[in-house]
């Protein structure tokens, strides 16, 4: 772009009132994907699973988070992540790119403060995997600070409703600074940490000693202030511990499944979502090729089979699920129903753009 044109654009942008989500005609979901040529992209999807835009990504993506007011989202690289893209969701274009400071790595997730002024990013110190939350100004996209996550290997991070406190899933796994090799599965001690905006630890929840090797990884917020946590078991594969835990009043309680369901998920939950419409919680397992649905109290309801299912978000009548074979499916009381099929591999998460 010519300098003059750039300045004119800038002037126009300054003169126009800011667009809101309502103006945007924007997608209902974001999802990262691998394309058939081996490159990576971020797609904006309609509620029917059609792609509104596909934006190239420099490397494999993971999750994303939507701004509470402005029609923008930030998409994160897969860990150990070296970039995050700020996306104009109305136009499907990249408007800024974040790079973690020297010695820090993005861990695939982030969230905005309630007023949208600050972006929080889940990060580790590359050496030792100690958790950090990066703070970024959402106007200038400059880094404005960081604070501890009070644990090792943080993954998902959410802002609690009606609060500016953050909930971080400290998965407990120390990884090699250069790759994803796990270094401490024998001694790991994951937790869920509630953290005030100034970085103070408000509450730390751990599972009992026997579930120490259950890595807390992904979170779904429930409307009543509780949260649901999806876990991945790093202990003896012959044991089949619960993969869902509910976080309430600063404590975690595991939600077991019936013994007939013990191996369905292959000890691995990839994503988690809550459906406001049905009140249910759902976990996906690409390894088990299954989605498990639970009632709001954590009691098991049903399993549904779908190979490599991983992305999940709230959708009409329940949930929308994406899989590694490119399908977008509706999950309702009557089961899984394909909505759309794309020639690509949907990656780990489907992000609902829950806008106000």
């Amino acid at each position: 772009m010519q300098r003059r044109a750039f300045l004119a654009t800038l002037a126009a942008a300054a003169a126009t009132p800011r667009l809101s989500w309502a103006d945007a005609g924007s997608p209902a979901y974001l999802a990262a994907a691998r394309l058939p040529d081996g490159s990576y992209a971020l797609h904006g999807l309609t509620v029917a699973g059609e792609s509104l835009f596909g934006l190239p990504m420099p490397a494999r993506g993971h999750a994303a988070t939507a701004h509470p007011e402005r029609p923008l989202a930030v998409a994160f690289a897969r860990r150990p992540g070296t970039f995050a893209l700020v996306i104009d969701c109305a136009r499907g274009i990249e408007t800024a790119r974040l790079t973690p400071p020297e010695g820090r790595q993005f861990n695939g997730h982030g969230t905005f403060s309630a007023d949208g002024a600050v972006l929080y990013t889940s990060e580790v110190i590359a050496e030792g995997s100690e958790g950090r939350i990066g703070l970024w100004d959402s106007d200038t996209w400059q880094r404005i600070g960081e604070m501890p996550t009070h644990g090792i290997g943080p993954h998902d991070i959410r802002r609690l409703p009606m609060s500016d406190d953050l909930l971080v899933a400290n998965g407990g796994i120390r990884t090699d600074p250069t790759d994803r090799t796990k270094l401490n599965t024998d001694t790991m001690r994951p937790n869920l940490a509630r953290i005030a905006p100034d970085g103070t630890l408000v509450a730390k929840a751990e599972l009992p000693e026997g579930l120490r090797q259950n890595s807390t990884r992904h979170l779904a917020l429930l409307p009543d202030g509780r949260a649901a946590c999806a876990m991945q078991w790093e202990g003896d594969s012959a044991e089949t511990p619960p993969l869902l835990a509910l976080w309430q009043a600063g404590a975690l309680a595991a939600c077991p499944v019936p013994e007939t369901e013990a191996v369905t998920m292959q000890n691995y939950a990839g994503s988690i979502a809550h459906s406001p419409e049905t009140g249910e919680i759902a976990l996906t397992s690409p390894r088990g090729g299954a989605v498990q649905v639970f009632a709001a109290d954590g009691s098991f309801r049903a399993s549904f089979r779908r190979a490599d299912a991983c992305g999940i978000a709230a959708g009409p009548g329940g949930f929308v699920v994406t899989d590694g074979n490119g399908a977008v499916l509706a999950l309702t009381g009557s089961g899984l129903r394909p909505l759309a099929s794309h020639t690509l591999n949907w990656d780990n998460h489907l992000i609902a753009l829950e806008r106000t």
Partner: protein, 319 residues
């Protein structure tokens, strides 16, 4: 041109039999499940309390199970059947505890088919029968014999149901994927069977060999599958042979995969999983484990491009 066509025709006829999902279903899964149903029915039909004929029939049924045990898709996934058929590994010894409780209660009303189907999956299936037929804690009484018969009937019932559900619907689901079906297209059905193949091979390496292998300092021979009946190694051999059969129904020829199977099966002849306390034997078993892992790696290299398939994008991710 005519000559070219003719040589193309000759080439085509010289190619081996067609291999794909339909062949894997019709020549591997369906006959395998039919055999499993037949052999478990034969076991359930025995009304003797004599150990020897029951043991022989149990062994034949277990042999048949190993022909399909790796097909962890479809009817076997329902109602926890795969666990109720073969509850192993069982690191907490749940099966033994549940069975002891059943034997102590000696409640004949608990032995009806309906009640048996509601028992814990840990207390049912092949390994429940193995504990009854190769007891470590004699004496066994009338109730143990009645429990044996009830457990065998429960196993045969599940086998017949699974066999029926494959014939009735799941075979068709795999052979003719549909945009509104569980599998949307041919590439998904290929991936499903390919995944069953690879995870089946890995189960032999990681669990059937890996669990008793433990470490050189701490071998765990007591953790071997089907240790009481002394068929731990036979399980591995039969499983590998069945998996080789599945691989060939999916694609043929497979020279490198065949060579890898040959190496592992030859190494298996040298291994006794009951003697892992001996460091020489431990090393032989470790080589077997590596050989089996090599089959999986080779099968991925050789089959994935041929099938245009791979194990799942997300299942391989781990995040």
């Amino acid at each position: 041109m005519i000559r070219l066509c003719l040589s193309a025709l000759l080439l085509t006829t010289a190619l081996p039999a067609h291999a794909d999902v339909a062949e894997a279903v019709k020549k591997h899964a369906l006959p395998g499940y039919a055999r499993f149903a037949e052999k478990t029915a034969a076991l359930a039909a025995l009304d003797t309390c004599e150990t020897e004929p029951l043991q022989a029939a149990w062994n034949e049924a277990f042999d048949a199970w190993l022909g399909v045990a790796h097909l962890r898709l479809g009817p076997v996934e329902e109602d926890g059947r795969v666990l109720a058929i073969a509850f192993w590994p069982d690191p907490k010894g749940l099966g033994q505890k549940q069975q002891r409780a059943l034997l102590e209660a000696a409640d004949t009303a608990a032995l009806t088919p309906d009640r048996m189907a509601e028992q814990s999956v840990a207390a049912r299936g092949f390994f429940a029968l193995e504990r009854l037929l190769w007891p470590t804690e004699p004496p066994q009484g009338d109730y143990a014999c009645a429990l044996t018969h009830a457990t065998a009937k429960d196993l045969a019932r599940m086998a017949a149901e699974i066999d029926g559900e494959w014939k009735k619907g799941f075979a068709e689901t795999l052979i003719n994927p549909r945009p509104d079906g569980r599998y949307l297209n041919r590439s998904e059905t290929r991936q499903a069977l390919f995944t069953a193949l690879v995870t089946g091979i890995e189960f032999n390496a990681d669990s059937r060999v890996g669990r008793p292998l433990g470490t050189l300092d701490r071998p765990r021979p007591e953790r071997a599958e089907a240790r009481l009946s002394g068929r731990s190694l036979r399980d591995i051999t039969l499983s590998l042979e069945a998996l080789r059969g599945l691989a060939h129904q999916l694609h043929d020829p497979l020279p490198q995969t065949d060579a890898a199977f040959d190496r592992a099966l030859k190494q298996a002849e040298k291994v006794d999983l009951a003697r892992l306390d001996d460091s020489g034997m431990w090393l032989k078993a470790q080589i077997l484990q590596q050989n089996i892992k090599a089959i999986a790696e080779t099968a991925v290299i050789e089959l994935a491009p041929a099938l245009g398939s791979s194990v799942g994008f997300n299942s391989a991710d781990g995040d």
